[in-house]
Amino acid sequence: MAEPGTQSMQSGGIVQAAAPGEPLVRAQNLTKHFPITRGVFLQRSVGAVKAVDGVSFDVRRGETLGIVGETGCGKSTTARLVMRLLESTSGELTFDGQDITKVKGARLKAIRRDVQMIFQDPYSSLNPRKTIGSIIGEPFAIHGLLSEKGERRKAVQELMETVGLNPEHYNRYPHEFSGGQRQRIGVARALALKPKLLIADEPVSALDVSIQAQVLNLLRDLQRQFGLTLIFIAHDLSVVRHMCDRVAVMYLGRIVEIGSGDDLYSFPRHPYTGALLSAVPVADPSRHGGQRRLLTGDVPSPANPPKACRFHTRCPKAQERCSVEDPPLEAKGTGTLAACHFPLSGAEVEQMGLARPPETAPAG
């Protein structure tokens, strides 16, 4: 992939501040606790939902970081913290070299310009009463850019072309577009201000299979073309595999494993990562019958998470130590960082039918 910042940028390009080596985003021990309150007037706090509870990660320039996990693991909250749509309870967040944990007002607005988001639902994220032109042009209006009408129209039409929409449809309304096209509108809007970071929260999960591939390919093309830095949040592990350089697996507000896609998918070390991967149904009946490791029970409540290792109540490998001592996220010698006292062994991974030598990549 081209080094970001080194390629020539056209007018529609995304300009990256060239500062190699330093990550674009750095989250350190980020937490978000939502208080649970009782009473109407005098709201007493009686506890907290620990949606995000101490996550640390870097997003390097030009890479795609995937965040996977099941409902309620805190992946969307993490994205909203990075967007500064939510204020963190504690922890530190740096963006492009500056501390943005507590910034407010004009400085926050300036950061919002550099961080844009693509949402899950292409139906509810577009105002039905506005034309496509004004939806995509809205970021310019908010930030007082390109105020001359002809100028803005030209920029919007260029964006429409970039994402594969017909620029002549400038004056149409969202209901005239299909789900896949609407998601393209969302992408065009997110690209308008040439953000340094794009956050995509489940961008294809509301789309049909054949349309999903169109949007994924569009995101991948844009990424290559503009060297975009992307945080890609999804529950579909295959989609994340396809899109991301590095992947973080979350469980109950914590990152339990993080590493390059290749390492994490071929040799998962955390038992939860293994369980997630082995639960994915494989579209190939001839490979049916791998030793699937089914998790029992449900995810515990984030208001009252298990002590020490949060996964120990459902972990097939759990021992006494797991309920006493919180495992740190650390290297386990196979590429990924995992938070586990008793990581999966190569034999166990193989038994689950997961570790596949790279040369057996299937032909469809």
Partner: protein
């Protein structure tokens, strides 16, 4: 081969609408054998849900025009009076839905809803019905069923609600279970639990299952036979093995090539199907898929393909105007990782030489 439990023949379901007639299901034929699983695959608007709702008579009240036959153990469900159909629905044929929260009544205890299902079809005392409800909740793997039976749906997690739905569907030992996207609203680890549960119950109780899904992974794991639907029609049907190892229809190829796979690395490219699914009010002429098909020829917009057996594979049917040789050669190219344009060019070269 055993006699079919359910046989659908040339089923058509049409809805009048302000813009014209919606051809939701446009002449489909399939059968389900006792104790077997049929997977119906398709995207939104392909007619997969409407055809199953019609089996249970649930589209009648919506003003749908229904023609064709739905034979369940010899009785035609299309013409059966509502009263007799009601005796079958929830009893011999049961259904589970995608969203378990909206399918359960929020104001009644889960046990009460189960008891009601039992008493709707059987003359059974309340105490016995309650005992059976507890037994059913235990059967579907709900922990501590004698306590949970007195809880409300909101006290259940998503996976447990779907288990409760399955318990309700199984209440009267159905011969056929129709599962419409049963795991789409669930997380992947819970999905694996529910699919394993359905497989176990099928083995224990010997019922047939129709599973409707857009997820090729789910059908690959669950189904014995697969029907692929597009724009209200079945375009391909065969055993699960044949559909995945030797797919015949360009739409099936498109689906298989457009899904990202866990085991392929990042260099792997997806090949999306261009365009969007057609309007069911004015479906395309000829082969419904021709506007999105990379291999369509001019007369495919005119000629309507019939579902015909593939030479050498009597149980594999496909509705496609390409010749069997062309299809074989094109799929071989696609399976080797070529994109449609390359596959076409290779085919043209071969024919010229």
């Amino acid at each position: 081969m055993a006699d079919a439990l359910l046989r659908v023949e040339d089923l058509r379901v049409e809805y009048p609408s302000e813009d014209g007639i919606v051809h939701a299901v446009d002449g489909i034929t399939y059968q389900v054998l006792p104790g077997k699983t049929l997977g119906i695959v398709g995207e939104s608007g392909s007619g997969k849900t409407v055809s199953s709702l019609t089996t249970l008579g649930l589209t009648r009240r919506q003003g749908a025009r229904i023609s064709g036959r739905i034979l369940f153990e010899g009785r035609d469900l299309v013409t059966l009076p509502e009263g007799e159909l009601r005796a079958i629905r929830g009893n011999e044929i049961a259904m589970i839905f995608q969203d378990p929260l909206s399918a359960l009544h929020p104001l009644y205890k889960v046990g009460k809803q189960l008891i009601e299902t039992l008493q709707a079809h059987k003359d059974i005392a309340s105490r016995q019905a309650r005992a059976r409800a507890v037994e059913l909740l235990g059967l579907v793997g709900i922990p501590d069923p004698s306590r949970r039976v007195d809880e409300y749906p909101h006290e259940f997690s998503g996976g447990m609600r779907q288990r409760a739905m399955i318990a309700m569907a199984l209440a009267n030992d159905p011969k056929l279970l129709i599962a419409d996207e049963p795991t789409t609203a669930l997380d992947v680890t819970v999905q694996a639990q529910i699919l394993a549960l359905m497989e176990r119950l099928q083995k224990e109780l010997g019922m047939a299952i129709v599973i409707i899904t857009h997820d090729l992974g789910v059908v690959a794991e669950m189904a014995d036979d697969i029907a692929v639907m597009y724009a209200g029609r079945i375009v391909e049907t065969a055993s699960a093995e044949s559909v995945f190892s030797g797919p015949q229809h360009p739409y099936t190829w498109g689906l298989l090539k457009s899904i990202p796979r866990l085991e392929s690395d990042r260099a792997h490219e997806l090949v999306p199907i261009p365009g969007t699914p057609p309007s069911l009010i004015r479906p395309p002429s000829g082969c419904h898929f021709h506007p999105r098909c990379a291999y369509a020829q001019p007369d495919h917009a005119r000629i309507d393909p019939a579902l015909e057996p593939v030479p050498g594979e009597p149980s594999h049917h496909v509705a496609c105007l390409l010749t069997p040789e062309e299809r074989k050669q094109l799929w071989a190219e696609l399976a080797a990782g070529r994109v449609p344009e390359q596959a076409l060019a290779a085919g043209a070269g071969e024919r010229a030489s």
